[in-house]
Amino acid sequence: MGGLYLESRLEFLRASQNQDGGWSYFPGKGSWLEPTTYAMLALHGTGSLDTEAALDRAWKLVRSWQLPDGSFRPSGEVKDGTWVTAHAVTLASVRGVDDASVRASVDWLLRVVGAEHNIWTRTGSFLHLIKARLDVSHQGWPWREGNATWIEPTAHTLVALKKVASRYRTAEVQRRVRDGEDLVLSRRCTDGGWNYGTPNMLYFDLPSYPETTALALLGLDGRSDHEYAGALDLAERFRAETKSSLGKAWLQIALRCQGRNVAAPDGPRQSNDIMLASLEALGHPEGNYKLFCAGGRS
């Protein structure tokens, strides 16, 4: 199944797992939660007992990084919880884990709000003291608690919360999801896609990027695409034109989740970037891209 493209990447992931059970960004380095998440999702359900045992070890390591407030540290070295908490919730959901510690993580995600959503900034926006087309009425998610909202952590949190919405604090989860989606929609660039943060700065429009457009579309998955008309076509164009491997990989995943019939990628693995290999494997038509989807289409 999957041919050389998929198998070469999965084999690389199997071979590059660290002794502690996690994956690093590049072989030979320490384990981090982000590449561990993508590797685990890519290898999920791919067959052998060895792989299942490897994933169990990885999950054990991930859980060891949870803090008492429910958040997750990005690695064993770092002491503070960050946006990767969303990844841990997604992993838990994929693995069918729904216990008090997962719920503590969901509580943390529901509590965290981008710092721009405060009374001062909203007042400043109302008084036109803010020189950007920035709707600060919506609540998104930051990379770290106390910082401003950005598209990528918001998208990953939307993916995670949609997975738990039917099981825990449903009304609150649905409210944050809806508002987070509204925030993503409000941050669309004039070219129809998404930048990392805001669509303009000072008086200048900012361009959208392939990877952030893909992530925004993942965050919006499940919402009527009438509300972001044209974005999928732009994403298709990005996928055809971009030289960014990371952008292409995220676009493969997002477009498939959004129901687009994207041609299967081919070619051997080009780099030793573990995160990239995982995302490329996930985005293959026979890969696990559905683990990112909100449901319905998948």
């Binding site: 960050t82 001062w120 930051p142 990379w143 770290r144 943060g197 990371l246």
Partner: protein, 325 residues
């Protein structure tokens, strides 16, 4: 309430993060802090194009600054931000390739390249676009994506109990800030000191390194240079700089110089004067005046004179008052 006070009350970080509220106009303190004792040498070396013999030019500048790199582990830190074929955002690949050769020739025990771009995550693809892989021998072997390097904590940085930096940065004996001569829509100018933003790991602090915006951009520039300035050297790529709405959306500005020195405050002050910017009005340089020299009388200019290479950079409206008069 002044606009600045409003911005501070509303959380300056949000402002910095989104580039939304004008807060750069700082009240000018009555007097700049004295720098360290003595003078700092800054070399201005002519390089009219990237096809010039940059190795010889750099060797000349380094000799004039008296830098000894023998036996040192050297980390070259270019400014790789974004790629747009229509402009010149990044440190030119030829400058980096020349620096690798220069520091190897001068006897460094190791020469590496490291960068952690501020908002783009596909570092190696950007390096491809910027022709780093095509131009710099063994690029992939010697390059580290500082956003995704392993990290270790440093105590007391920026008022934090612990702040994390990439092990590649912490392990270097000498960090060479291979910056680009550009205007910057928040800091006024981005030169060798601001270039240190790229050593803050995205894997911990996100893309961009939003924590720094909250701490304050000038404050962060100073804190990073307090942390690493003692083991730093600067080579600013002013062969072709960027004016106007830098650091990404500005337009190319040929100047034809490389500016070098061990005192990064003095290097940036010199670059500002070349660009027609008054360094004493640039908030991060005012704040950094205790770390190095801003006053022209304390900077020993070597190579070309400022007057002979001065090239007035266009400034966005928010920074018109930085103009050197």
């Amino acid at each position: 309430m002044t606009r600045r006070k409003f911005a501070l009350l509303s959380g300056a970080a949000v402002v910095g993060a989104y580039g939304s509220i004008k807060l750069q106009k700082v009240e000018k303190p009555p007097k700049l802090a004295d720098g360290p004792s003595g003078q700092s040498s800054v070399a201005i070396i002519r390089a009219r194009s990237y096809s010039d013999d940059l190795v010889s030019r750099m060797l000349e500048g380094i000799r004039q600054c008296g830098l000894d790199v023998r036996g040192k582990r050297v980390l070259l830190k270019p400014n790789l931000v974004e790629f747009d074929p229509a402009t010149v955002i990044n440190t030119n690949a030829s400058v980096i390739a020349a620096a690798v050769e220069v520091f190897e020739r001068l006897g460094a025990s190791e020469v590496k390249i490291g960068e952690g771009p501020g908002h783009r995550r596909d570092t190696l693809d950007m390096a491809d676009d910027a022709r780093y892989r095509a131009t710099i021998p063994n690029f992939e072997r010697i390059f580290t994506d500082l956003n995704r390097d392993d990290v270790s904590p440093v105590k007391g940085f920026g008022g934090e109990q612990e702040f994390y930096f990439p092990n590649t940065v912490l392990g270097a004996d000498l960090i060479v800030s291979l910056a680009k001569m550009k205007t910057h829509h928040w800091a006024g100018a981005t030169l060798s000191m601001k270039n240190f933003f790229g050593v803050v790991p995205g894997s911990v602090y996100g893309w961009p390194k939003n924590k720094l915006h909250y701490y304050g951009i000038p404050e962060s520039i100073v804190a990073l240079n307090r942390q690493f300035g003692r083991k730093a050297f600067a080579i600013v790529d002013g062969v072709v700089g960027m004016e106007g709405n830098g650091p990404i959306q500005g337009i190319p500005k040929p100047v034809g110089v490389l500016v070098m020195g061990s005192d990064l405050v003095a290097v940036d002050s010199t670059c500002c004067r070349i660009m027609g910017i008054d360094p004493e009005k640039v908030s991060y340089l005012r704040m950094a005046a205790g770390l190095g020299h801003v006053h022209p009388g304390r900077i020993e200019q070597r190579g070309e004179t400022i007057a002979s290479v001065e090239t007035s950079f266009a400034l966005i409206d928010d920074f018109k008052d930085l103009r050197l008069v």
